[in-house]
């Protein structure tokens, strides 16, 4: 297919006894922001490493821009920009020098390169930090530098491997906006993450991976349609009687109701006035209640429905800064 940028067929990668990729098939089309979503250890980075010909694999084929990708496919590699999970810059060079150094691996012409480097630095908003060495930059700025080094040569395909790990919300938004902008400028983007909100925010097509396998594929709306619940209602209250829960389950669009950790959780499939109906049951039972709220389904619900487990640990993001502080201490 002419507009297929990446085609992966039956990719198998084993680490000794562990099967990291299990007959994975992917097709990424030109102009997409393609999200590769999955929990840690699901095989996202392994897929990217195989795609870039860094990792050997046991079975399958990989084509990029219609050609088989090999370690010596320099013509293909020169059209790819990689933003690795770990910040990959030289600590001894400042911001400008780092971007220029990596850009020089693709753009030999000095004048053209200078223009590209300036544009890349401006794009990630590091103009005020060009003379700073990486050690002087905050985590968010460092991630932006990492991105600048990967996109300065204006690649057709940009691969971002978890670029927002341990980044503050402000920098994260800046990065995500930048990715959308890059895509708008014509680049095809492959974005791997285990943060479902990011994928929902920027990706036009999503593949969810688990244990080396593709378990779901489609746009976010398509994926959400795969799950039964369209709405989940939460009511903070003391444990109600079994009769109350039974009455809830008896409502026309309620698929499930249970009381967990001080909350009544009511799953609804379809229906337009589910919250009103649920509150009516509570009022009739004369029960006290606290906060009431409703949530639309997320990709985590999709993942939960398919695998029976959470996509990521609860409150993982809130824990990250603490973990970072501990590491620093």
């Amino acid at each position: 297919m002419e507009n297929t940028v990446v085609k992966i067929e039956n990719l198998v990668k084993n680490y000794a006894e562990l099967r990291a990729l299990d007959h994975l098939n992917l097709e990424i089309r030109q102009g997409e922001v393609f999200g590769l979503l999955g929990p840690n250890g699901s095989g996202k980075t392994t897929t990217i490493s195989c795609l870039l010909s860094l990792l050997s694999f046991d079975e399958g084929t990989i084509e990029v821009f219609g050609k088989t990708m090999t370690p010596t496919s320099y013509d293909l590699k020169s059209r790819i920009g990689i933003i690795p999970q770990n910040v990959a810059v030289f600590n001894e060079l400042n911001v400008y020098e780092n971007v220029d150094c990596f850009c020089s691996l693709y753009i030999p012409d000095k004048a053209k390169r200078k223009q590209y480097v300036d544009e890349a630095i401006a794009f990630v908003g590091l103009e005020d930090f060009v003379k700073f060495r990486p050690k002087k930059l905050s985590g968010g700025l460092l991630r932006r530098l990492n991105i600048a080094c990967g996109i300065a040569h204006k690649p057709d395909l940009i691969i971002l491997d978890e670029p927002t790990v341990a980044v503050d919300p402000q920098s994260r938004n800046k990065i995500l906006e930048g990715i959308v902008e890059l895509n708008r400028m014509g680049a095809t983007v492959i974005y791997t993450t285990h943060y479902m909100e990011e994928v929902e925010q920027i990706c036009s097509r999503i593949v969810i991976m688990d244990r080396g396998k593709k378990i779901a594929e489609g746009s976010k709306d398509e994926l959400k349609r795969e799950i039964k619940n369209t709405e989940t209602i939460y009511v903070e209250m003391d444990q109600p009687s079994e009769d109350v829960i039974k009455n809830m389950r008896g409502l026309s669009h309620v698929s499930d109701a249970s009381w967990v950790d001080g909350r009544l959780i009511v799953g609804c499939a379809g229906g337009k006035h589910n919250l009103v109906e649920v509150m009516e049951v509570i009022r009739e039972s004369d029960l006290d209640f606290g906060r009431v709220y409703s949530e639309l389904p997320t990709l985590n619900d999709v993942f939960l429905t398919i695998t029976g487990k959470e996509l990521r640990d609860k409150d993982e993001r809130q824990e990250e800064p603490t973990a970072k502080k501990k590491k620093k201490a």
Partner: protein
């Protein structure tokens, strides 16, 4: 791409603290320490003779002969004051002399004495001595006739007359030197060494005399010549245009160490080139430039920066510390630069082995460097000579020994053949290290990252 990478590699090298410390500050600091610690020892022009008092409780002609020669040389080692014991102590107390040499007699009945040499032995010795060529030339007629009679006669009266009061101990008397010093220091150390040297010399002379007189070894002619001090066994000829004084040798060793330390900067080449060793390596392997080209640029960058460090090191010891490398300074630069290039290549090779981190590999390189330097005698003198005797092949392949040898040959040889042989060996080793390093890093796909 190529020259841009070279430029950034050079920049990066000089921004690494370890490089600044080990390749620039280390030779400057250690060279300066050498200069202040040992420099004055070998600067003969500024050497001051050690003022010494001599107290003679007995007459020792040999002592006079030897020590007076030292005191009367163009660049005297000693200034001697012959005086009484009381005066000597006073001079020492006042600081006018560094030490007192006291000459005491030793009883001539000891085993080492020659008083037991028989008159017949002495007569036999004298006959042989007088028969030697030229001994009787220049004597007046009366003496000639007397000696002729003696040689032709076996009459003991001549013998008795001749050897009356003469013995080996008269020719080289046995004395004991004792040294009194007020404080330690270079002067005191020197006096002690000279006193020991003299006693050894005296003992050797007495042994020669005794053996000669008892007919055990040597001819009268040889002994005669030896006693006259005109036996020339070794002719000293200047074989080199370099400087072979020990101080310059320290500096040669220092430069050799710095050259080998290039391995510490070279060790990071591999990690920044391989995807399984660093994120930067992964990013570069994904680039649209062949790995070999990036490697060449990195190596060249390191070679240039390390050569610059070597030039700084050699220039510092030459022009700042004033070390005299004779007329071969340019060859010193050449040897140092090639040694540095070999060191960087060695680091690249070691860095290419295994999947450990940069820290572990730097430790490995340090250990390897130290071992090489130890085996080449840069730390403990004499090791290299031992290896030369028992395992010469180690010296032939030890990079540190090769660099040292190149400087050594530069300082002792008139020609440059052996020096260039060592330079050639450096080039060969450099090629081997680079080739092996590239073979280890050329793998294009990894089983795991």
């Amino acid at each position: 791409m190529f020259w841009s990478s070279v430029k950034y590699q050079i920049k990066m090298t000089f921004r690494v603290k370890e490089v600044i410390v080990w390749l620039i500050l280390f030779p400057i600091v250690l060279g300066t320490l050498y200069k202040f610690t040992f420099g004055s020892l070998y600067e003969q022009d500024s050497f001051e003779a050690v003022p010494t008092a001599v107290v003679e409780h007995t007459k020792d002609n040999l002592f006079h002969l030897v020590m007076d020669a030292m005191a009367e040389a163009d660049k005297p080692i000693l200034t001697l004051t012959y005086c009484s014991e009381e005066e000597a102590y006073e001079l020492l107390e006042n600081g006018d002399v560094r030490g007192i040499i006291v000459i005491d007699p030793v009883s001539d009945t000891g085993e080492d004495g020659v008083s037991d040499t028989s008159g017949t032995d002495i007569a036999a010795f004298l006959r042989e001595y007088l028969s030697s060529d030229g001994v009787m030339e220049g004597l007046d007629e009366e003496s000639n006739a007397f000696l002729k009679d003696f040689l032709e006669s076996s009459d003991k009266s001549y013998l008795e007359k001749l050897v009356e009061g003469v013995s080996g101990s008269t020719l080289i008397p046995e004395t004991r030197l004792s040294l009194k010093i007020k404080s330690n220091g270079m002067g005191a150390t020197m006096l002690k060494k000279m006193a020991e040297m003299y006693q050894t010399m005296q003992k050797a002379g007495r042994d020669i005399m005794e053996n000669a007189m008892s007919g055990k070894t040597g001819s009268g002619d040889e002994v005669s010549k030896a006693m006259q001090g005109n036996t020339t066994v070794v002719t000293q000829t200047e074989l080199t245009r370099g400087n072979k004084d020990p101080y310059a040798t320290y500096m040669y060793n220092l430069i050799a160490m710095v050259a080998i330390f290039g391995a510490m900067s070279g060790v990071t080449i591999a990690s920044s080139l391989q995807a399984n060793l660093s994120p930067v390596g992964a990013r570069r392997e994904c680039a649209g430039t062949p790995k070999f080209k990036i490697l060449l640029a990195d190596l060249l960058g390191y070679y240039v920066s390390h050569s610059f460090c070597m030039i700084i090191a050699v220039s510092f010891v030459t022009f700042v510390l004033g070390t005299d490398f004779g007329s071969r300074l340019l060859y010193v630069y050449l040897g140092a630069i090639l040694g540095g290039i070999m060191g960087v290549s060695m680091g690249f090779f070691i860095g290419s082995i295994g999947k450990w981190g940069d820290g572990a590999k730097t430790g490995l390189v340090m250990a390897f460097n130290m071992t090489c330097c130890f085996l080449s005698g840069l730390m403990v003198p004499g090791i290299r000579a031992l290896l030369m005797q028992y395992a010469p092949v180690i010296n032939e392949v030890n990079p540190a020994a090769i660099v040292c040898d190149s400087f050594y040959f530069l300082s002792v040889d008139e020609g440059l053949n052996r020096y260039f042989t060592k330079l050639f060996a450096m080039l060969i080793l450099t090629a081997v290290f680079v080739l092996l390093g590239f073979v280890l890093t050329r793998r294009r796909k990894y089983a795991s990252l």
